[in-house]
């Protein structure tokens, strides 16, 4: 069930250039279910900034009623969020959307997790759950540069973790696809989250395997009422079929929506 709660900041730290990791505590965590879901955060009371910010859930700690979100400071809202300290409260609405499916029949299979930039965080909880599901996970994570990269060690503790940076300062120079093209072996399932061009490239390369893509879109309400974040359905000739990224997604099976 979706709840709105003033959650308490347990910790906040900058883990890469303009990238923050915030741990929040509250009852709302008990509602968090699938990796890949997100929360809608109001950084501050008042009307400036007015709207909430969608931020992905990067890990869930049910035992301690806490969850971690990793976000990039870009606009007014996330910059205010970055000023929060331990003990402060944050207005959180969530959990929202449907996450990545973890299917029992995937047990023992091989999964490829591909993340780009701020699309990397939700893959962390996913990876932990896949490992719990006795799957072999391989991560390919893309960043602009080494200073904006994060969680490489955390991912490496769960399975192979390859990095691609645009300037070559960490891992392979180029995009995630440069690594994937050179990789050995077959994968049974693909999970990806990142910018649309990256998802498009993956859709073309992996049209023959089971794949789930998590999309990002500007949102109004975050619950499916405002129709701000819709995307057309692939192959719909009427041109009227759609999915809402916030409530039908953000994760869609490959081929479902037009990227």
């Amino acid at each position: 069930m979706i709840r709105k709660e003033k959650m308490t900041v347990v910790s906040q730290k900058m883990i890469a250039e303009n990238i923050y990791e915030m741990i929040l505590h509250g009852e709302l965590v008990s509602e968090m279910d699938n990796p890949g879901q997100f929360v809608h955060v109001k950084a501050e009371e008042g009307i400036d900034p007015l709207l909430r910010r969608p931020i992905s859930i990067s890990s869930i700690d049910k035992k301690n009623n806490a969850f971690t979100m990793i976000y990039r400071t870009e606009g007014k809202g996330t910059k205010r969020l970055a000023q929060k300290n331990e003990g402060d409260s944050v207005d959180v609405l969530g959990p929202l959307g449907n996450g990545f499916p973890i299917l029992p029949h995937h047990k023992g299979k091989r999964a490829l997790l591909v993340g780009g930039g701020i699309g990397v965080p939700p893959l962390y909880e996913l990876s932990k759950r896949l490992v719990e599901n006795k799957m072999e996970v391989v991560h390919v994570l893309g960043f602009q540069t080494e200073s904006s990269s994060f969680y490489m060690e955390e991912f490496a503790s769960l399975g192979h973790a390859y990095a691609a940076t645009v300037d070559g300062s960490l891992g392979t120079k180029g995009f995630v696809t440069s690594i994937i093209d050179d990789m050995d072996g077959e994968f049974d399932v693909l999970y990806a989250c990142g910018p649309i061009p990256m998802l498009r490239a993956l859709e073309q390369r992996f049209s023959d395997i089971e794949a789930y893509l998590s999309l990002e879109q500007r949102m109004g309400c975050g619950i499916g009422a405002c129709f701000a974040c819709v995307c057309p359905v692939q192959g719909d000739e009427s041109g009227t079929e759609y999915r809402k990224v916030c409530s039908d997604g953000p994760v869609f099976p490959v081929g479902e929506v037009v990227l």
Partner: protein, 313 residues
Amino acid sequence: MNGLSIELPGMQLKNPIMPASGCFGFGREFSQLYDLNQLGAIMIKAVTTEPRFGNPTPRVAETDAGMLNAIGLQNPGLQKVMNEELPWLDQFDVPIIANVAGSMMEDYVNVAREVSTSPNVKALELNISCPNVKTGGIAFGTDPSIAKELTKKVKEVSSVPVYVKLSPNVANIVEMAKAVEDGGADGLTMINTLIGMRMDLKTAKPILANKTGGLSGPAIKPVAIRMIYEVSQHVNVPIIGMGGIQSAEDVIEFFYAGASAVAVGTANFVDPFACPGIIEELPGLLQDIGVDHISELTGRSWGKVDQKTYHRA
């Protein structure tokens, strides 16, 4: 009695608070969060004859104390609304105000004729002011004679009272209001969004794919209050006020200006519990003001300033 129940043409309302059209879908999402029976009424999303996909994304952009949207009247079309959405909403004891939109006059007439036959639709809201559609929409809302004619035609076919949603994007709002009143409007809803734009600093292009969008939220509240103040003194039909309402205090301001009920729009996005929150707060505020009933506040600002109570600092 909590001093909130009111009567409007076609409707008996438990309270004067309703979600504004386009900000509440058809209620399904919000019904997962709270009991919709708490609401005074529900203004459902605009309905057109055929299903509409709307505009390309991005469709929203934040502004200082507000937001721009260019959804483009996305909706599942008249038949689906009649067969699925309205029957679903019938489980709630809440009057529905159906927002009617179209590209041509015939579209409005067709949708109005049919949607007004639904048992829970107690009134129509003519959407002649949507700034985000290429044809129809705002064209009907900026020409007084066209607006009057459209109101007349819809009135002829509608089985329920017709409210007309006025656009703030006109030079003379009173002239528009009088024109639709002459056309037979039973009430007015005002204001719709103000046309605006924002640019992306990185690309130097408009953020919205539609380039322009409708500005809503607290940023437009003073404009809405001014227009309701002007119009309410020149028409004899009730006004449902809207434009940046976020709190019970805002509601009082709208009533002082001349509104008889209010709709809450963008605030539903900021806090999905905004409507029930305002409903809960209002009785206490009325008590503070010293009135038994909220309807006593409509148009309180119209009277001349009492010089005796005016003290220069």
